[in-house]
Amino acid sequence: MSSAPRHESAHLHVSGRAHYADDIALPSGTLHAAFGKSGIAHGRIVRLDLAPVITLPGVVVATADDVPGDNNYSGSAHDDPIFAQDRVQYAGQPLFAVAAATHAAARRAARLVRIECEPLAALLDIRAALAAGSYVLPSRSLTRGCPREVLERAPYRLSGTVVLGGQDHFYLEGQIAIAVPQEDGGMLVHSSTQHPSEVQHVVAHALGRPLHLVTVQCRRMGGGFGGKETQPALIASAAAVLAHKAGRPVKLRLDRDDDMLMTGKRHDFLADYEVGFDADGRILALTVMLASRCGYSADLSGPVNDRAVLHIDNAYWLEHVEVVSHRCRTHTVSNTAFRGFGAPQGMVVIEQVLDEVARRLRLDPLAVRRRNLYGSKERNVTPYGQVVEGNLLQPIIDEVARSSDYAGRRERIAAWNATGPVIRRGIALSPVKFGISFTATQFNQAGALVNVYTDGTVLLNHGGTEMGQGLFTKVAQVVARELGLPLSAVRVSATDTSVVPNTSATAASSGSDLNGKAAQAAACAIRERLARFAGLTFGVAAEQVRFHDGQVRAGDTVLGFGELADRAHRARVPLSSTGYYRTPRIEWNNTAMSGRPFFYFAYGAAVSEVAVDTLTGEFRLLNVDILHDVGCSLNEAIDMGQIEGGFLQGVGWLTSEELWWDAQGCLRTHAPSTYKIPTASDWPQRATVRLFEGHPNHEDTIYQSKAVGEPPFMLAISVLLAIKDAVASCGDGAAGMDLCAPATPEAVLRAIRSLQSSASGSGFT
């Protein structure tokens, strides 16, 4: 048990007293709402027969015609209608919403509406979209050196395809918003959102009102993972339109199936690559065609795919490289942000390439990985021109390889597999290098407000949102530390667009970096005022006033922080301050894809061991060793939670979580009965998870810490590689392998079969 400060809401979570949006006591007269959705992937709307519903007493219906302002919830490309008009573009797309006295009544009423559509041809997957040249955004490319020329000359060459499935966020709390009309045209919205300011903008535009009339609040989310960055704007704006029309508060909470059908997911990807390498497994040149399924609209697909391109290198020096990135438009739900934001997909590609190279040369994949790592003084510039500073890859890999006895276990595993058992074992080590900062520079800023009250208690508000990641706890720790107060003296209030305005999404792992610094600035401003006041009052220099443990020491005088606050207030010293922060040193030319998009990198590595059933394709994760870099941890328990949780979420993405659409483009895995995220017994029986200590962030981040939200997710790539390692033992050891992710039993068995049949065939070398 860690003695680190507990999550600020832990005592509320365990006793059921933590309030989520669905738990807020509603004003009387509140209506409950449900969406009406398209049942087909692509079609022209012929008729929307609302007659069976509008005649029901107490029922209010909203369609595109009822949106007083802009019928759009996209924050980027203006291509996401709140309610579809003329045309439906994916199965599950909302056409209207119904509000009624109860949730059940609204859901029933929504099913009464008769939707008539004329079906149109639908593009459902990446290959189909590529063939049709169907894109949501222009393709982009990043090239360094002369990859094609070098490929031609390379002593060894390989080509292959990597197929990666998508992933549903499966936050336990589904999407929800409550819109409460206020006086004078105002609208108060409680939204489960990572991005209250975007919800504010979308609701205001939908209602055709200025921003100052719309307030959005979020105390906490029951999980976000990127799924509540852009998606909540749809829920909130539909609730607001209904509330506006009904003149009453409206709560819109999605049933799980609706949530999974209607909201975007992690992009599935396809990558065709060609790699040239030498006899030691050093990559000489690499070309990659990346294509992702973006769905029907752009949403965040631009930056998601950019990040995939920017992480194609992961930990490795690629001297000659070309990446082409296609953003495919399909008639499926519009894919969106999800922990890692495209980087996991890019990183799986390079890790699979290295694995294939190692197998082809019959080398230990770890040896090949080591030979290709970024250096510290040379071979240290990314394809987009950023110098890799503070490189911890080598020491982390050395340490975790040693502590996990990678070499010894690889030998024992080879010996086990050599006897040809039904159950094969596999092991793999994979590193992570993840760039921290939004690639859209404008988002790298934050604001905070700190109020000190005359009893010495502190109320903190900042632009970040709490989705379970412990941001509120970490930022409260910062304020407590700056003011020399116990953590219990600092309370964090709900994120509120009327308190701290114009905020960024809590995303890109940046929450504590940005808001921690902003809150620090606010707290410091107050502390300096108080120090000045105490200095004057007690006759010492302001710099000599000390704040510690709830006490203030000014020369020989010691008084409680509350007493000082009270005296300062009486002396008309302001006890409230805003704070602001913008990330330094970043500059990014988005058009040329070059510059320094990232303030710094976070590093880590994992060693995973699995057992694979060669008869059924089932696997178990038996053992994992993780060593992860968080700089100087702000809160070790919270950081461990992010690492472990991110890792297992990644394992789910790469193994059991399969999104399955039928031939008509309808998602058939839209509930936990069919979509399988990991359970408790999927956490390995042996796990050694450690923070990489003694390496403060070399950049000036809050107390030299590092962001931790996303990077550990990609430690899970080691599990996919370990499965491949086990599967490879079924062939001659050097054959290429097509193992798609998710590595479901079916996918694993297929890979085993193809190896066995190619091994028994003639002439494959």
Partner: protein
């Protein structure tokens, strides 16, 4: 009938935080979750999926044991459990656990100290699953903890700190209220005994008979009525399909149907016996069923749902069917005063079609007693180990004498519109020497037995290939030639 019982005949009565609650005005298909959140405004219990698959809604029900001496506290999914079905029981929610002075229960404190919550939305459900385990065994082994938690999904933590909380919860001082002796607390036991009904509960659209005769008569009177037991399927008709249900006849108040009887004719499991109890009995009789027992749904589902409900539902992917067909189960059907027996495999005529007459219902399922000469195995293939629905399931009973297969029953789920035996494969094996090539031949013969469909769980090709491989596994496992299950291994 006393005046007292007449008054309460038309009201659902249960204990909540030790207080008697009497509800007469709620619809009979209102779920316990809806009741807690919408009527009582007890919002600690969460809705995550409304289909019993995520565990955010987990509450604990206390029910008098058959002998009336103690209370059995079990975790269930409140999101699909209809309120009238908790009549006579004690309902505990996450708000119930703290001591009167506000101190957190050891389970809650352990969760706080182990950093077991992140977003916190799933946490009340985890707390309640751990709490049920705590009352049963405050010092469980790791396997018990992961088992108890297999019906609860957490998307944030990776589970390690929650498992740790489960392992440490017994180290805390004994709480004032909900300690290990609570299930035998005389006051609590007496309170529940006081809720026992003389006359059946009868509500608008809901009837809970006490005897099989009453049940038979009610169904004869209203052949269109819907039978309800644990509601782990029927609940979804309401929460997901938004169906208006016909009148409900609740079978689980019939004491006789809650019995498991063993005699020399076999083991007879009544229609209201929960999956938890039924699988405990079956796995106790046949050790080869232990893994299936553990992997069938989740503890909260097994605590509500019934084995006979699984059979009567008749889904081709219900795991109870292939196992019981392999065991040679017979079913007891009753209609009015008539009783008939049928072998289970004959009951299924086609997809969603059974040999069931109007007004007829399943009374019990009976399996022959274990025969030491017969080896029984059950395999389940799914994307996730715990709490998943099988892509393919196999129940196998095999008698090998002097190296020759004397008798074999192979029943598959997920391979056809009904769960059924693989006749060609059985024929290939029967009388053959029990060798790897015999298993091979049986695997090939499966292609005559089945042309499975492909769906979101697996393709047709995988089902066919993996089903054949399960026969290969059967041979390797039976011959003891090495581990054949991934969960049998530890790390190197």
């Amino acid at each position: 009938m006393s005046r007292h019982s007449r008054e309460h005949q038309g009201a659902v009565r249960f204990l909540l935080d030790g207080q008697l609650v009497c509800e007469r005005a709620v619809p009979c298909t209102m779920t316990v979750l809806e009741y807690l959140r919408e009527i009582r405004h007890r919002t600690g219990t969460k809705e995550g999926c409304a289909e019993g698959d995520c565990g955010a809604c987990t509450v604990v029900l206390g029910e008098l044991a058959a002998d009336g001496s103690r209370i059995e506290y079990r975790a269930i999914n409140s999101c699909i459990r209809f309120l009238p079905t908790i009549d006579g029981q004690e309902l505990l929610t996450v708000e119930s656990l703290q001591d009167p002075d506000g101190a957190l229960h050891p389970v809650q404190q352990a969760m706080v100290d182990c950093h077991g919550s992140q977003c916190g939305f799933c946490t009340p459900g985890f707390v309640m699953s751990l709490f049920a385990l705590y009352l049963d065994d405050p010092h469980p082994a790791r396997e018990q903890v992961t088992q108890a938690l297999s019906g609860n999904l957490c998307r944030c933590t990776g589970y390690r700190p929650i498992i740790e909380a489960g392992l440490r919860m017994g180290d805390y001082p004994r709480p004032a209220r909900w300690h290990r002796d609570a299930p035998t607390d005389p006051q609590r036991v007496a309170a529940l005994q006081g809720l026992r009904r003389q006359e059946p509960l009868r509500l608008q659209g809901f009837f809970a008979p006490h005897t099989v005769d009453e049940l038979a008569a009610a169904l004869t009177d209203a052949p269109g009525a819907q039978l309800l037991a644990g509601g782990t399927d029927v609940g979804l008709w309401v929460t997901k399909q938004l169906r208006e249900l016909p009148d409900l006849i609740y079978v689980s108040a019939v004491e006789e149907l809650r019995q498991v009887r063993r005699d020399d004719t076999g083991i007879r499991i009544g229609a209201a016996v929960t999956l938890a109890e039924a699988w405990r009995v079956l796995a106790g009789a046949w050790s080869g069923l232990a893994q299936m027992a553990r992997r069938f749904a989740s503890p909260p589902i097994r605590n509500s749902g019934t084995l006979c409900g699984n059979l009567a539902n008749g889904s081709p992917i219900g795991d109870g069917l292939p196992v019981l067909i392999a065991l040679g189960a017979q079913i007891e059907l009753r209609s009015g005063a008539q009783t008939r027996w049928l072998s289970l495999e004959q009951w299924y005529l086609g997809y969603q079609k059974k040999d069931l007459r109007p007004g007829e219902f399943l009374v019990s399922v009976q399996v022959p007693p274990p025969d030491p000469r017969t080896w029984v195995a059950a395999y389940k293939l799914s994307k996730r180990s715990d709490q998943d629905i099988s892509a393919v399931a196999l129940g196998a009973a095999l008698r090998v004498e002097a190296g020759v297969v004397r008798e074999v029953r192979l029943a598959f789920g997920g391979m056809a519109g009904i769960a059924r035996r693989a006749e060609a494969a059985e024929k290939a094996l029967t009388g053959a020497a029990w060798t790897a090539s015999a298993a091979e031949a049986a695997a090939l013969a499966l292609r005559q037995d089945f042309q499975p469909l492909g769906d979101m769980r697996a393709s047709s090709a995988y089902r066919l290939e993996a089903a054949g491989n399960l026969l290969r596994r059967l041979y390797v496992e039976h011959s003891g030639a090495g581990p054949v299950r991934v969960d049998a291994l530890g790390p190197v």
